[in-house]
C-alpha cells in the first residue's frame, strides 16, 4: 500500500457507511450476494431523497411548466427553475440563463455541434479533440467533419494515458475553430489540464468545449475560472435521474446561436411563415421538458453539496489508490491510465491476461460485483491501446475499501474458475 493511502486511511473524509444507508438499492442482493456496485462511470445509484422527490412531484404538483397560471403549474415552474439555479451555483455559472437542460451530456454536445458547429465550422477548419474521447464527444464531430469538410485533429496520449501536450501548439492551429476535450476520461480515468487547452484554444481564436460528464460528478468544477465556452454533463452520473443533461454556455455565444430543436416554449412570436425566439435559456428548451427529472435533480445536488465535492474527490483518490495497489498485486492484471491516483479519477479499466473482460464481468456478477466490460463507448481509444475491450470498475461516494476487497476476491475466484491460479 502506498504511503498516501496509509496516511489517508486514518483520516477518512467521508463516511461511506452512513452514506450507504441513503441508497436503497445497495441493500439488494445479486445472485445471493450483497450488491457491490462498481459501475458508477456508466450511471450512479440514487439516494432516497431523489426517489422521494420524484414521487412527491407526481403525487403533489405535477403540471406542465411555464405557461400555466394555476397553482400546480406555478409550483412546478418554480421547482423547475430552482433546480436550474442550483445547477448554476454548483458549477459556478454566473447566470441561471446559461444553464440549459437537455437529455444528457450527449445531447448537450450535439446541441453545440448543430446550433454552433454547423454555422461556424466549414471546409478546411479544424476541430481538435483528444485520443481518449467518449463517442459522445467524438461521433458528433466525425459527422460534422464529414458534412462540412472540416478536419479533425487529435491530441495524443502518452504511455501513462495522459495527454501529450508537446505538440499542442501546432495541433491547435490558427484554423482551429473548436477544441473539445474531456475533463476526465471514462476509460483511463485521466484528469486532463483543460484550463491549459482552453487557454491555447482562446489564444488561437477557437472556442473550447469541456466534456465534464465524468468530472462534475467527481470533483470540484468551476466553469468560470476554467473559462470554458461550453460545458456538458449528465445528471444520472451524479445521483440524479436519467434523462437530464446540462449544457452550460457563455452568454454571448448562446445568445448568438440559432435554436437546436424547435417547438413550444422556445418561441417569442410565431406566424405561419415566421418565427423568432424566446430569451435564454428557453430558446434551447423546445417542448415539454423532463420536468420530474429536473426537479428531482435538486436534492441530488443538495446531497453532493452537503458532502462537499472536495471530499468526494478525496474519497475517490483514496479508493483509487487502494484499488490500483491491490490490482497490481494480483500479477495477472494490466491496468490502463495513470498509476498516480492524484492524476486520475476512480474509473479503472484493466484486463486480465487469461480471462476475457466479458467473462470477468459475468463471473464477478455471480459474486454480486457489478463491473462493466466492453469498449465503454471509446472504440478508437481501445483500438489505439490494441485491445478490443477492457473490464472497468468505477467508484462513487458509497463505495468502500471492503468492496474493493470483494472485487479482488472475485477476480481471483474468476481466474480459479477458468483454471488459472
Amino acid at each position: 500500500m502506498s504511503t498516501l493511502m496509509q496516511h489517508k486511511k486514518t483520516n477518512p473524509v467521508i463516511d461511506p457507511e452512513s452514506i450507504r444507508r441513503d441508497f436503497p438499492i445497495l441493500n439488494r442482493t445479486v445472485n445471493g450476494n450483497q450488491l457491490v456496485y462498481l459501475d458508477n462511470a456508466a450511471t450512479t445509484q440514487k439516494p432516497q431523497i431523489v426517489i422521494d422527490e420524484l414521487a412527491r412531484y407526481y403525487s403533489e404538483y405535477n403540471s406542465n411548466v411555464h405557461r400555466g397560471i394555476h397553482t400546480l403549474a406555478d409550483e412546478a415552474t418554480q421547482a423547475y427553475e430552482k433546480a436550474r439555479q442550483k445547477v448554476a451555483n454548483f458549477i459556478g455559472a454566473p447566470k441561471t440563463e446559461q444553464i440549459i437542460f437537455t437529455r444528457g451530456a450527449t445531447e448537450s454536445i450535439n446541441l453545440v455541434a448543430y446550433a454552433w458547429g454547423r454555422k461556424n465550422i466549414g471546409k478546411g477548419d479544424r476541430i481538435v479533440l483528444t485520443q481518449m474521447e467518449h463517442h459522445a464527444n467524438l461521433v458528433p464531430w466525425v459527422a460534422l467533419a464529414k458534412e462540412t469538410g472540416a478536419e479533425l485533429e487529435y491530441i495524443p496520449i502518452d504511455e501513462q494515458g495522459c495527454l501529450d501536450l508537446d505538440d499542442i501548439g501546432e495541433i491547435i492551429s490558427r484554423n482551429t475553430k473548436l477544441v473539445s476535450v474531456t475533463q476526465m476520461s471514462n476509460v483511463l480515468g485521466t484528469i486532463n489540464p483543460v484550463e491549459k487547452t482552453i487557454e491555447i484554444a482562446h489564444d488561437r481564436g477557437a472556442i473550447a468545449l469541456v466534456d465534464a460528464a465524468q468530472s462534475v460528478p467527481h470533483m470540484p468544477v468551476d466553469v468560470k475560472s476554467m473559462d470554458a465556452d461550453f460545458v456538458a454533463f449528465s445528471a444520472h452520473k451524479m445521483l440524479g435521474p436519467t434523462g437530464i443533461g446540462i449544457l452550460y454556455g457563455k452568454e454571448e455565444l448562446l445568445s448568438g446561436m440559432e435554436p437546436f430543436n424547435y417547438g413550444g416554449e422556445m418561441i417569442n412570436e410565431v406566424r405561419y411563415d415566421f418565427a423568432d425566439w424566446a430569451a435564454l435559456p428557453h430558446k434551447f428548451e423546445a417542448g415539454t421538458p423532463n420536468i420530474a427529472g429536473v426537479v428531482a435533480f435538486s436534492p441530488a445536488l443538495d446531497y453532493l453539496r452537503n458532502i462537499g465535492m472536495a471530499n468526494v474527490r478525496q474519497h475517490e483518490i483514496e479508493l483509487t489508490g487502494y484499488t490500483l495497489d491491490r490490482l497490481s498485486s494480483l500479477g495477472s492484471i494490466r491496468i490502463f491510465g495513470p498509476m498516480n491516483p492524484e492524476l486520475r479519477g476512480g474509473a479503472i479499466s484493466f484486463i486480465d491476461n487469461d480471462v476475457h473482460p466479458h467473462d470477468l464481468a459475468q463471473l464477478l456478477d455471480q459474486s454480486g460485483v457489478a463491473i462493466r466490460a466492453g469498449h465503454h463507448c471509446a472504440q478508437p481509444l481501445h483500438r489505439l491501446l490494441g485491445i478490443g475491450s477492457t473490464a472497468r470498475a468505477s467508484f462513487y461516494i458509497y463505495n468502500t475499501k471492503e468492496e474493493i476487497d470483494q472485487l479482488i476476491d472475485a477476480l481471483k475466484e474468476a481466474r480459479r474458475y477458468f483454471g488459472h491460479e
Binding site: H358, D359, Q379, G388, S389, Y417, F418
Partner: protein, 155 residues
C-alpha cells in the same frame, strides 16, 4: 460458483476456449469474412475453401470471450466437410437453440454444440455465441451469390 454459471461455462466450453480448433491460415481460401460484435469488441475472421458446394476446409480465428471463441471452435469441428445446405440448416438450429425457440435437429450431428443451450439464460451473451455463425453463413451466402451471378453472366 453457481449452477447457472456452470451451464454457461461447461467444461467443454472452457476446453474449446483454451484450445480453439481451426485457428489456422488456409492456403487456398475461396472466401474470407470478418465479423465483429460492436457491443463488446469481439472480432472474428473466417476463411473457407470450397469443393463445389461443400466446405472443404475452413479456419476460424476469434479474439473474444470464452463463449465466442468456444462457439467458433465448435463451429469448425462441426462444419468441416458439410454442404452449403447443411451449414445453413445447422446454423438455423444453433440460432433457435440459443434463442430458446423450437428446432428440429433430426439427422444433424451437432457435435459439442448442444452445450450452447446454457447461454440461453444469459441473454447478453447470445450475441457472443452467434458471432462465428453469422460470419460463416454470411461468407457462404456471398460465395453462393457470386457463383450464381457468375453463372448468369456466362449464360
Amino acid at each position: 460458483m453457481s449452477d447457472a454459471l456452470d451451464t454457461l461455462y461447461r467444461e467443454v466450453i472452457l476446453d474449446h476456449y483454451k484450445n480453439p480448433r481451426g485457428k489456422k491460415k488456409l492456403d487456398h481460401a475461396d472466401v474470407k469474412n470478418e465479423g465483429k460484435n460492436p457491443v463488446c469488441g469481439d472480432e472474428i475472421e473466417v476463411e473457407v475453401e470450397f469443393d463445389g458446394d461443400t466446405v472443404k476446409d475452413l479456419s476460424v480465428s476469434c479474439a473474444g470471450c470464452a463463449i465466442s471463441v468456444a462457439s467458433g471452435s465448435m463451429l469448425y469441428e462441426v462444419i468441416k466437410g458439410k454442404s452449403f445446405d447443411e451449414v445453413r440448416k445447422i446454423a438455423k438450429v444453433v440460432k433457435a437453440m440459443l434463442k430458446g425457440e423450437e428446432y428440429d435437429a433430426d439427422g444433424i450431428d451437432l457435435g459439442d454444440l448442444d452445450v450452447l443451450e446454457g447461454v440461453r439464460q444469459f441473454p447478453v451473451r447470445i450475441k457472443c455465441a452467434l458471432l462465428s455463425w453469422v460470419t460463416l453463413v454470411d461468407a457462404i451466402e456471398k460465395a453462393d451469390t457470386n457463383e450464381s451471378s457468375k453463372l448468369s453472366t456466362t449464360e
